[in-house]
């Protein structure tokens, strides 16, 4: 194999990689914010902590508006209630131009792993496309699929599955 074209990953500390991936983005963001500000000067410290506080508030607002939409089994189609929620999300995104967002696509456990990765990507993209149509700059929105890897509700019943078939908007 010719390794010249293949980027070799060096030793990189994976600070809070897990937190940003999970639903607990609020904790993860503030934790890494305070950790990175520890060695900075006091004025920068203040700014950073203020920024972290603002971010936390924004995340809280996003959750209050509704950070997730749900999907039918094996579907990436947004229903009318999802669109109403995304309309509210898009108003929030427009009002917070300094923030970027990640849409996480998820599936329930009743599918195969690789197919669900693709389906999660479709779900996240459906949300992203809808927000872009509402006038949100596409450069502000990233998508990521977790397939069936990160259920929101642990359980093997129709209630849990319906809550796990979701796309969640979080602050990047």
């Amino acid at each position: 194999m010719n390794k010249k074209f293949v980027a070799i990953i060096g030793a990189i500390s994976l600070l809070s990689a897990c937190e940003t991936a999970s639903q607990k983005v609020v904790t993860g963001t503030s934790a890494s914010g305070s950790a990175s500000s520890a060695s900075a000067s006091s004025s920068v410290d203040k700014k950073k902590s203020l920024f972290a506080a603002a971010k936390q508030t924004a995340a809280d607002k996003l959750i209050a508006i509704g950070d997730r939409v749900l999907f039918d089994y094996d579907s990436a189609t947004l229903d009318s209630s999802a669109k109403i929620l995304l309309d509210a999300q898009s108003r929030f995104l427009r009002a917070n131009t300094d923030l970027n967002f990640i849409i996480e696509g998820h599936c329930d456990e009743r599918g195969t792993r690789e197919y669900n990765l693709a389906l999660g990507e479709q779900r996240a993209t459906a949300v992203r496309d809808y927000l872009v149509i509402q006038g949100i700059d596409p450069d502000r929105i990233k998508v990521i699929s977790y397939g069936k890897e990160k259920p929101a509700v642990v359980g093997s019943n129709t209630m849990a599955w319906s809550k796990n078939r979701r796309a969640v908007t979080i602050i990047d």
Partner: protein
Amino acid sequence: MNIILKLPVFKMIILMISLLSTQAFSEDLRIKINSGQVEPLPIAIANFTGEEGGSSKIGMQISTVVSNNLVGSGQFKAIESAAFIAPPTNPSVRPNFTDWTPLGIKALITGSVKNINDQQIEVEFRLWDVIAETDLIGLRLSVNSEAWRRVAHIISDEIFERLSGDSGYFDTRIVYVAESGPQNNRIKRLAIMDQDGENHQFLTDGSFLVLTPRFSPTSQEITYLAYFKNEPRVYIFNLETGQQELLGSFPGMTFAPRFSPSGEKIVMSLAEKGVTDIYTMDLNNQEVKRLTNSPSIDTSPSFSPDGKKIIFNSDRGGTQQLYIMDSNGRNVKRISFGKGRYATPVWAPKGELIAFTKILKNKFYIGVMSPDGSGERLLAQGYLVEGPTWAPNGRVLMYFKQEAPIDDGKSTTVNLFKIDVTGFRETRIVTPSDGSDPAWSPLLPN
């Protein structure tokens, strides 16, 4: 990276021993396999002797591993060593066959272990046809004493091949995803072990999510999906250097990777803008080719052993079904037409079958069918069974099974299982923690 392990590589010298006779194994003794359940062939495996003629520690361990392998294949029945009469003291000594025939033993395995120096050992074995009263095969192996398990697996493969007429699968490894932690925050680590669960080692530290590892044809590399820096992409892990490398640079998520039979290409899916298609990447010149171009989900590609075809699953017809295409993406043809959804197809090493996951009425199955879609047989079933992988001789499949949930799903286990392609003898592979996404290596290079 803050991981990783280099697997030790031991040089191995293997010599064929000239035999007393070159006669074929008695025809009535040859086990016939592809006919469902067979009566296991009674064999005796003497403890391999040491320097003083008695059993040495390594000799006994080798005998035990050989016995576990052969009996575990379901094709052999080992006669208890307590029943041995006058065990041979040296593999080159012709046994007194009349001692063994009354026990119903058809084949006898003898062996010895010698220390060459502090590190090196020389292991010798013979396989004897008790009925025809002749030797069938003999090998002498010189190796680092730490590699005695591999010696036992190589000997097992030689015996299996000689008695079954088919290649063995014991000198192989399993790479899989070791799981721990709560269901909504699973820690997943790449782990590797011998086919029998020994020599278990972790390859990644759990700081990032890993899924779907698969071996290269040389067994020296593993391709898999890693959420490294929270960007899901296909990586290649080199077992000799212990490094993981990002494969190419793609605008979206790359996943579902597998090596081509030559090892020169990776076939995988790229998901971008809500569309998942199948691509190949040439590892020599980094050339990327798009093989499918449909608005549907095309994923889980797997090459045929001759490299000419690719099987994959697609929902282009409404639900997940299996499709075959030429390796350049042409001549796409649907092959699965049964009830339910079909997924994760994997071509058998000899090409005659496709293994798959099937979902029907909320139940999961592991099954096989011919590449033309005929002859579907379901082998294993469970609350969730998924991701079949073939033993290199195509006789055994491994997969993972999530047990039916207890306490409303809050407590469940995920484990590796194997089953004969005949559908018999489903067996759990014991791992230190939960496990999923197994991949069986080819026979290891000597």
